[in-house]
Each structure stands twice: as structure tokens, then as C-alpha cells.
Amino acid sequence: MGSVIADLLSMADLDAPTITEILDTADGLRDIARRPIKKVPTLRGRTVCNLFFEDSTRTRISFEIAAKRLSADVINFSASGSSVSKGESFKDTALTLQAMGLDLIVVRHAASGAPVQLTRWVDAKVLNAGDGWHQHPTQALLDLFTIRDRVGRIEGLRVTVCGDIAHSRVARSLVQGLGTMGATVTLAGPPTLIPPGADRWGASITHDLDALLPDTDVLYLLRVQRERMDDQCFPSLREYARLWGVDRDRLARLPEGAIVMHPGPMNRGVEITADVADAPHAVITDQVTNGIAVRMGCLYLMLGGEAA
């Protein structure tokens, strides 16, 4: 079998059969986590580099566990404490890694498009672990996996994505993935946090979260950053919480069987209250657990096929 995915840069590049194959592969791999010896030899001899220009302990650990469970050799490269802090450019870093003969680079970068640029400089496969406000495909895939796992399907579900759409790579990736898989998506939030042209994303837009809740099967809450308040996107965290935050009262308006998701890290008391985060509807820890299986699936499909 040849590798199914070349580079994994954007959810826009994945069609429904490919997404389904990734989710099915992840499903097959997740049992490994339940074994006493959580390791298979699939990617033995392959070298994966976690190239993180932006701090993200959670995502890096998730990728590291995923690669190690498949027996790949893992190198962690973080921008702080490396040649980058001595002024090495992104391109020179890439060329240096290229010269070391890696098989796959997992890249996280604060600048949108950096993973796309990286593909021009390295032969290794590139997996985008989040770039600026642009894309975070494995987050979208683990979310799709979690929805399918908990609800049993994706197609036809009514998904509400609420919060800072404008500055969220998670929102972009997820909305594309949900659309590809046949869900009906609504974006909710203040107009200042809905990006221009979002009406062309195949999702509808509302500024009235309460009216939408009874028709929501999956409520996806995005992290709100304090710096958006400094940009005058909303006046205060308190007002944000009042209008867009989900508390017990709003949770009660969701239909039976609805789930609440969040990509983490959460701002408890802002977009989500503590009792909602810990309610049975919330599948937030499932998302984290499933992230490992989904990332294993991606690594396997990008690397495993070639020499296996």
C-alpha cells in the first residue's frame, strides 16, 4: 500500500473518503493505548521531528506519544533554546533539518502558511500541527473522530461553533472538515469575531446563540483570548461570558444527547463554566485521548505504507 497522504497541511485538501480512512485507521490504532505494552513496531526506523516555533506542550506531547507508540524515533525541536533564538531563519532551520534526513516534520508555527513554505525546502513529509490563524488539521480530525465516536455519525448533525472564529485555526479546519463530512454548521459569535467572507464557508452565521441551542447536536466552544479584548473585539470578558459563554442554563437548552466540545486549553468562567466543562455532555477529555489515536493514524498513513 502506498502512503495515503503526502503532506497534511489543510483540511481543505482532504476529501470525505480520505477523512473516513484516517478516522477508521485511528479507530484501529486506539486499542494500543489499552494494552499493557503500548507500542507497535510499525514505524520503526522512521524519524519524526516535532518542530515547534510556538509553545504548545499539549499538542507536542500528543504527537510525541503518537509517534512513540508507533516506534518512530522522535526529535523535539523548539524555537526557544535552539539556533532560532540565536537568529537562525526559518529557511535555514528547514535546510538544516533537510540535511539531517528526516522522514516527517510535525510543524507548529505562529505564522499562517509556514508549513506550506516548509514543503518547498524539505523532502520530508510535512504535517501541520497548527499555523497562525490558518489551519490545524489534526485538531479537526480528532474532533470529527470524537463526534463520530460519541454520536455515531457526522453526516446530518447540526454543529454550532461558537466564539472567536476570526482568529481560530481550529474553527477554519473544523468547519471545512464538518462540511466535507456532511454536517450542517452554524457559526455563532459577535460580528467582530466572525471573519469577512465567512458566509462563503458553507456555514450559516448567527449572533443569537440562545435561539440556536435547541437545534444544536454538537456545541463547539472556542477559546477566547484576552488580547482580542485589547483589539476592541468585545468590551470585557464578563460581557463575553454573558452573551456567548455557556453555563448550566444554556446547557439545559441543548437537546437530549447533545455534546459540548472545546479544543483546550479552556478559560473556565469565560467561554465555558466549570460545571459545563465537567458535565456528562462535555467530551473534552475524550478529545484529548482521541487526539493520540488520530495522530497515530495520520503518521501511519503518511509514513507507514511506504516500507511496511
Binding site: A111, W133, H134, G197
Partner: protein, 418 residues
């Protein structure tokens, strides 16, 4: 020969004696340069380029930038003031002129800064620069944000009837902006650069200039709305001129999807509708001139993450070919209109005499001869600029500069810079 300044458009011999044109017509004398099949026109005039010297000689020097200009058919270029030190006093004006004279590739008209250090707060000593012939002042790259400073600059420049050229960008709307704002910027996750930022600033400046009867030049027009504002102001009789850049009538924001910073420019590449509006604005004369905004950047500054790369692209060596390919060939402009937008109109808008035609006995022999039908492919490794940041790599274009003549002397001969 196409000479918009005199209205001449016919076959002719141009007899050059010393640094002057001696005769235009059927007569001939002296050494003959066969330009059969070529268009002879006044040497091109660029209202807007960055030669980077003093300060960023790694990206461009006056010698390399003017060599690029000569290769592109230009005999006169206006160099923007955002050098280091800033061209906000007579010393830098003199230095730029001296270096240009030594290089001898092209006449350079330094643009003086409006405010000290381009900081937007205190007027630079415009008088000191005007007294040595500076006709245009601009903080290009940095908008004059304060309406009061802008109004005072327009008013003060009336002393010499000089031209104020304000970088059109209301910068409170463009903090961290990366590309044209719209569906594409949202999809790519790049902060948007709203059209309103340009249009608000142009509207303000047009109102201020018109009220004072002062001269305003609008640089690098990039939106349909800006063109409408300028059209209305001209109809009211405002003393305004405007320029558009080849990249704004050739490329659209779609290029940004590659995340290749070679396409990052200020103002940003806009939508296809804006590209179309700029073409129409050039055709109906709302936009007077085609200017390059030639902005060299060294590879190490430009080949970075999109968000961290500086704005700007090369332009001097491709301006004529893009004008012919994108405007003349599809019939947007006649050849005469195109030549006028590159010669007589920019020269007139900036009071530059001796360039831009007319090609007539007694005038300086500043000429270009180009083959309008010759096709070539843009190669970043073949440019004369010290930098390589052309967004047209691999693009096939029509129109090749064969000879450029500055005061009777070749600066470019058979396509080679002399």
C-alpha cells in the same frame, strides 16, 4: 516614433547630436542605429522607486538600481525618501544625486521627506530641499497620520507649488495587516488589510488639498473606491495626480494562497475587480501615471514567514513589458496612451523637464527603443537589481527594451546595460 508630448506617432529618424536631439523627420546624419521594427519613445519616467542607498546597500545601491532602471528603459526615476538616514534634509538629496551622477545610468530625482525621520510629527525643512530643486515630498511607506500635519505640509509646500505625496493608509485599520481583507484573507488566516484604510486616507487628503488649492499626488492606487474618489476630485478641479503600479494591474490577491512573500506588498494585491478598476482608471485618465514602486529586499529579509517578511517587489525591469502585455495587447490602452502613462504624464505631474518628451530639436536626447512584440520570460537570476524579489518569475511577457539613451549616450544597448 511615439511621442505623446508632441502628439507625434509615425515613422521618423531621430538625429542625435551630442546630448541633444538635432532633428526629427526624414533627414539623417552621422552614425546610424537601425531601430527598424522598434518603437522609439521618450525615456521612461518613474515617479516611485526605492533605491535603498544610503542605508540598505545589501538590497540595492543607486548604481544597481539605476542599472535596473536603464535596463527597463527609464531615463529618470524618483527615489523615495525612506533611506537610512532619511532623505529629510538637503545633505541626503545631494548624496543621492552625486551617487546617481557617478553611476551615470539614469537621472535620479530624490523625493524629500514630509516630516523629520518620516515620523509624522514635525515638518522636515522642505525649503532647504526645495531650494536645490526637490519638487515632491513624501513619507512613503509611512502615512502622515495627523490631519493637522498633513494640512500644514500641503499649505507650506504652496511656497514652491511643490507636490505632496502621502502614503495612503489609515494605519489604525492596518495594524498587523498581511493581505487584502476579504474571503481569501479569512481562509488563509492572514490579518486583513481593508480597502477602507486606503480610501479614508485618500478622501481626507483630497479634501485637504482641494480646500487649499495645493498639489497632491496619490501613490500606488490599489482599490476601486480610491479611483472613484480621485475621479470625483478631478471633476471638482482638485490639483491631484495619481499613479498605479504594474503589480496592481497584473496580479490579484489569489497569488497570496502560495504564502510566498514575494507577493507581499503595500498596498496589498487586491481582488480581480480592483485590478479591473485600475485598468479602467488608466484608460480613462483618472490615473495619470504608471509607477513601479520598485522595492528591493535582500533574500534573507524577504524569504521568511509571510507575516514576518517586509512588503515590496521589484518593478523597474518589468514595468514596460507588463504595460504592453497587460494593457496594450488586450486593448485597454493604445500604445500612445501607454507610452504617455510612462513618460509625458509622469514627467508633467512632477515638473520634470528634459524627460518624457517631446522628442524635438534642442531637447535632451533621452530615449528608449523597444520591441513591442518580442517575448521573453522573467528570470529572477537575470535582473540587474541587487535583489531578486520579482513576483513575475517564469512569467512570459511581451516587449523588450533594446536601447536606452540618456542625453545622447547609451545606458542600455542591445539589451545590455552599458
Amino acid at each position: 516614433m511615439v511621442d505623446p508630448a508632441s502628439g507625434f506617432d509615425d515613422y521618423a529618424n531621430v538625429v542625435v547630436r551630442g546630448d541633444h536631439v538635432a532633428e526629427v523627420g526624414l533627414g539623417s546624419s552621422g552614425m546610424r542605429i537601425d531601430v527598424d521594427g522598434l518603437v522609439v519613445a521618450p525615456g521612461l519616467v518613474d515617479l516611485h522607486c526605492h533605491l535603498r542607498e544610503p542605508g540598505r546597500e545589501d538590497a540595492e545601491t543607486i548604481a544597481s538600481g539605476t542599472a535596473a532602471a536603464a535596463a527597463g528603459g527609464f531615463t529618470a526615476v524618483c527615489a523615495m525618501a525612506n533611506t537610512d538616514p532619511v532623505c529629510d534634509h538637503a545633505g541626503v538629496v545631494e548624496q543621492v544625486r552625486r551617487l546617481a551622477k557617478v553611476a551615470g545610468n539614469c537621472d535620479v530625482y530624490p523625493v524629500g521627506a514630509i516630516t523629520r525621520g518620516l515620523a509624522g510629527h514635525e515638518l522636515a525643512e522642505l525649503g532647504a530641499m526645495a531650494s536645490i530643486g526637490v519638487r515632491c515630498f513624501s513619507d512613503d511607506g509611512m502615512p502622515v497620520r495627523s490631519a493637522q500635519v498633513m494640512r500644514r505640509a500641503l499649505m507650506y509646500a504652496l511656497t514652491w507649488d511643490a507636490i505632496i505625496c502621502n502614503h495612503a493608509e489609515e494605519s489604525s485599520l492596518t495594524e498587523h495587516a498581511q493581505m487584502n481583507e476579504g474571503a481569501l484573507s479569512s481562509a488563509l488566516g492572514l490579518a486583513g488589510w481593508p480597502r477602507e484604510a486606503e480610501e479614508i486616507q485618500v478622501a481626507r487628503d483630497l479634501i485637504l488639498a482641494h480646500g487649499l488649492g495645493a498639489r497632491l499626488h496619490v501613490p500606488h492606487v490599489s482599490t476601486r473606491g480610491t479611483i472613484e474618489l480621485i475621479r470625483a476630485a478631478k471633476a471638482r478641479g482638485a490639483r491631484v495626480t495619481a499613479e498605479a503600479c504594474p503589480h496592481h494591474f497584473t496580479l490579484s490577491e489569489d497569488e497570496v494562497a502560495s504564502f510566498d512573500p514575494v507577493f507581499k506588498v503595500n498596498p496589498p494585491l487586491r481582488s480581480a475587480a480592483d485590478v479591473e478598476a485600475i485598468r479602467r482608471g488608466l484608460a480613462d485618465g483618472t490615473i495619470d501615471a504608471i509607477a513601479t514602486d520598485h522595492a528591493p529586499h535582500s533574500p534573507e529579509t524577504k524569504e521568511r514567514e509571510w507575516a514576518y517578511a517586509p512588503c515590496g517587489m521589484l518593478g523597474l525591469e518589468t514595468a514596460l513589458a507588463l504595460t504592453l502585455t497587460e494593457l496594450v495587447k488586450p486593448g485597454v490602452l493604445t500604445l500612445t496612451q501607454a507610452v504617455a502613462a510612462l513618460t509625458s504624464k509622469p514627467a508633467r505631474s512632477r515638473d520634470i523637464t528634459g524627460h518624457g518628451g517631446p522628442i524635438a530639436p534642442g531637447t535632451h536626447a533621452n530615449l528608449v527603443a523597444f520591441d513591442p512584440d518580442a517575448s521573453w520570460t522573467v528570470d529572477p537570476n537575470a535582473v540587474r537589481s541587487r535583489s531578486r524579489n520579482t513576483p513575475y518569475a517564469g512569467l512570459q511577457v511581451l516587449g523588450r527594451v533594446v536601447h536606452t539613451i540618456l542625453r545622447g549616450r547609451f545606458t542600455c544597448r542591445d539589451g545590455q546595460v552599458v
